[in-house]
C-alpha cells in the first residue's frame, strides 16, 4: 500500500452528459511530491480534483489512487475545501471540525475516543491553533479556517491531500504557515495536489505543476511548465511577460 504511487492518471477524459470538460490528462505523482494544478477559471481544475475523488464519470482513461480505484482509496485521501464555501454560522468549534478527520477510523455508531482526541489536538497544534480549539469555526479568520481544514486532513493521516484554492482570501501569516505545514507533510511522504491560480505560489511550494485548459497543456517542474509560452497557450492574450522575467496574467473577474 505505502509503496504504491499516490496518484497515476492515464489519458483521462471526463464528461458531464455529452460535453467533455477535460481530456488528455496523464501524469504520475510520487510520495512526498506536491503538484500545482494551474489553469484559468473553467479550465477543469475542480473537475480534476473530483475525478481523483471518484466523484465524476470518467469516460476514457484511468485514475488510480495508491494503486486502488479512487472510490476504494477515499479514506486515504483528504479533501480540503475552500474555507469560505462552508456555512459560517454552523454551530461547531475548530476542534470539532478537526475531529471529523478521525471519523473513518472511529467507525460507525461510535464516539471518538481518547486517542482520536489526542490526534485532533496534535493536528491543531501543528497548524498553530491550539488556543482556538473551542472557538466556533465561523468566528475564525479566513486563513485560520483554512488552517483548521488542513488540520482535519492531518488528523486523517491521509496519504494524498487535495486542496482546492487554499490561498483565496488568506492572510500572509496563514499562507506561510500553510506552506510550512505542507513541507513537513511532504517530508513524511504525503503527496499533495493543489488547485490554484496563484503562479507565485506554484513556483514557491510545489515540486511539480500541471497546466490545464480543458486539456493538459503541460506537466513538469513549475519552471518548465509555467513558461510564458505555455501560459499564453492556456490563458490566451491575457498573459504578459514583465522585464524582470516574471509572468503575470491580467486580472480577470471571479
Amino acid at each position: 500500500m505505502t509503496d504504491a504511487q499516490p496518484l497515476c492518471i492515464d489519458s483521462l477524459a471526463v464528461a458531464y452528459d455529452r460535453d467533455p470538460v477535460l481530456h488528455g490528462v496523464s501524469f504520475d505523482l510520487s510520495p512526498g511530491s506536491s503538484l500545482a494544478v494551474v489553469g484559468p477559471n473553467g479550465a477543469g481544475k475542480s473537475t480534476l480534483l473530483r475525478a481523483i475523488l471518484g466523484l465524476v464519470p470518467v469516460v476514457h482513461g484511468s485514475v488510480s489512487v495508491l494503486g486502488l480505484d479512487p472510490v476504494a482509496a477515499r479514506r486515504h485521501v483528504a479533501y480540503v475545501p475552500q474555507a469560505d464555501s462552508l456555512d459560517p454560522e454552523f454551530p461547531i468549534d475548530a476542534f470539532g471540525v478537526v475531529l471529523q478527520g478521525r471519523y473513518r477510523q472511529v467507525g460507525w455508531f461510535r464516539r471518538p475516543g481518547r486517542s482520536d482526541r489526542a490526534a485532533a489536538h496534535a493536528a491543531l497544534a501543528e497548524v498553530g491553533l491550539s488556543d482556538r480549539a473551542r472557538s466556533r469555526f465561523g468566528t475564525l479568520s479566513g486563513g485560520q479556517r483554512q488552517r483548521v481544514l488542513l488540520a482535519r486532513a492531518i488528523a486523517q493521516n491521509a496519504r494524498l491531500l487535495l486542496l482546492d484554492e487554499p490561498f483565496n482570501g488568506v492572510d500572509a501569516t496563514s499562507q506561510q504557515l500553510l506552506i510550512d505545514v505542507m513541507g513537513r507533510l511532504r517530508a513524511n511522504g504525503v503527496a499533495i495536489v493543489i488547485s490554484t491560480h496563484d503562479l507565485a505560489f506554484a513556483h514557491l511550494a510545489c515540486s511539480e505543476a500541471c497546466l490545464i485548459n480543458g486539456h493538459m497543456v503541460g506537466f513538469g517542474t513549475p519552471d518548465e511548465v509555467l513558461s510564458s509560452e505555455h501560459l499564453a497557450h492556456a490563458y490566451g492574450p491575457a498573459v504578459h511577460s514583465l522585464d524582470n522575467g516574471t509572468t503575470v496574467i491580467a486580472a480577470h473577474t471571479h
Binding site: 462552508l86 459560517p88 454552523f90 454551530p91
Partner: protein, 276 residues
C-alpha cells in the same frame, strides 16, 4: 386514558422528535423541503382513508414517494432545487384536494387533515407516533457524527467515503417525524414544530449537543403549552401550538444571547455576501 391525556402524549412526543430533527433540517437548509413534505402527506392521508389503512401510514408512503421523486428530479440541472420542491409541493397538494373531492365516503374531514384534530387522535396514532419517534431518535443518535459532518462539509464527507445514502436516510427520517406531527398539527402547520423550535434553540447556544436538547424540549413544551391553551380558550390545537412556537421564538429573540442583543452589539465588517 382520557382524550386529553392521549392528545398530550401525542403532541409532546411529536414535539420532542420534531425539535431534535429540526436542528438537522436547519443545518442542511431543508426548510422548504420540509414544508413541501408536510404538504405532501395530504394525498397520502386521503388515499389511506379510502383503503381503510392507518392514515399515518398512507402519509408516510406518499411522503417517501415524493422524496424519491425529488432525488430523481434533481438530475434535471436546468431547474433549481427550490423550484423542483415547489412543483412537488403544489402538485401533491392539488392531488390531495382532487382526491378529497372524489372520495366516495364524505366522512373524511378536510379541516382536520389541514389543521390537525388532536382530540380525535386514536390510540393507534399515539402508538405509531411513539414507535416512529423512538426509532428516528435512535437512528439520529447512532449516526450523529456522520450526519453532522455531512451537513457541515458534504464534499469532504463524500471524499472520506461517506455515501450520499446518508442524506437520503435523513430525508426519510424527516418525513417519518412529519407524520407524527400531522395528527396534532395538520399538513400545513406541522412545519411549526419541525422548524421553529430548532431556530429558537440556535439563538440560545453555540454548542451543538445543547442545541439538540433545547430544540427537543422547546418542541415538547410548545406542544404542552399550546394544547393547554387550546383546551382553555377553545382554539384549534394546531393553530395554538404553532402560535406558541412563534411566541417562544419572539421571546428568545428578545432575551437570548444570540438574538437582538447580539444584533445591537457593534461588530466588525461582516465578510461574505448575504444569502439569497
Amino acid at each position: 386514558m382520557s382524550i386529553y391525556g392521549r392528545a398530550l402524549i401525542e403532541v409532546m412526543v411529536a414535539g420532542f422528535a420534531a425539535g431534535v430533527i429540526g436542528v438537522h433540517i436547519v443545518l442542511r437548509r431543508l426548510q422548504f423541503f420540509t414544508v413541501a413534505l408536510a404538504h405532501a402527506t395530504f394525498p397520502g392521508v386521503v388515499v389511506a382513508y379510502w383503503l381503510g389503512i392507518l392514515p399515518l401510514l398512507g402519509a408516510l408512503g406518499f411522503g417517501w414517494l415524493v422524496v424519491g421523486l425529488l432525488v430523481v428530479l434533481t438530475r434535471l440541472k436546468q431547474v433549481d432545487g427550490s423550484s423542483l420542491v415547489g412543483v412537488l409541493l403544489a402538485g401533491s397538494f392539488g392531488l390531495g384536494v382532487l382526491l378529497q373531492g372524489l372520495q366516495p365516503r364524505p366522512a373524511l374531514d378536510l379541516t382536520s387533515i389541514l389543521t390537525g384534530h388532536v382530540v380525535a387522535t386514536s390510540t393507534a396514532d399515539v402508538a405509531t407516533s411513539i414507535v416512529v419517534a423512538v426509532l428516528v431518535l435512535a437512528v439520529l443518535a447512532a449516526l450523529h457524527k456522520e450526519l453532522v459532518f455531512g451537513a457541515f462539509d458534504p464534499l469532504a464527507a463524500e471524499a472520506q467515503g461517506y455515501s450520499r445514502w446518508l442524506d437520503l436516510l435523513l430525508l426519510l427520517a424527516v418525513e417519518a417525524v412529519i407524520i407524527t406531527t400531522v395528527p396534532a398539527m395538520g399538513t400545513i402547520l406541522s412545519v411549526a414544530l419541525m422548524i421553529v423550535p430548532a431556530i429558537t434553540a440556535r439563538l440560545w447556544t453555540d454548542r451543538l449537543g445543547l442545541t439538540f436538547l433545547i430544540a427537543g424540549l422547546l418542541g415538547a413544551g410548545s406542544g404542552l403549552l399550546g394544547l393547554t391553551m387550546s383546551d382553555r380558550f377553545h382554539l384549534a390545537a394546531g393553530g395554538a401550538i404553532a402560535l406558541t412556537t412563534g411566541a417562544m421564538f419572539v421571546l428568545s429573540w428578545l432575551l437570548a444571547p444570540f438574538g437582538l442583543r447580539r444584533q445591537m452589539q457593534p461588530h466588525g465588517i461582516q465578510l461574505g455576501s448575504t444569502t439569497s
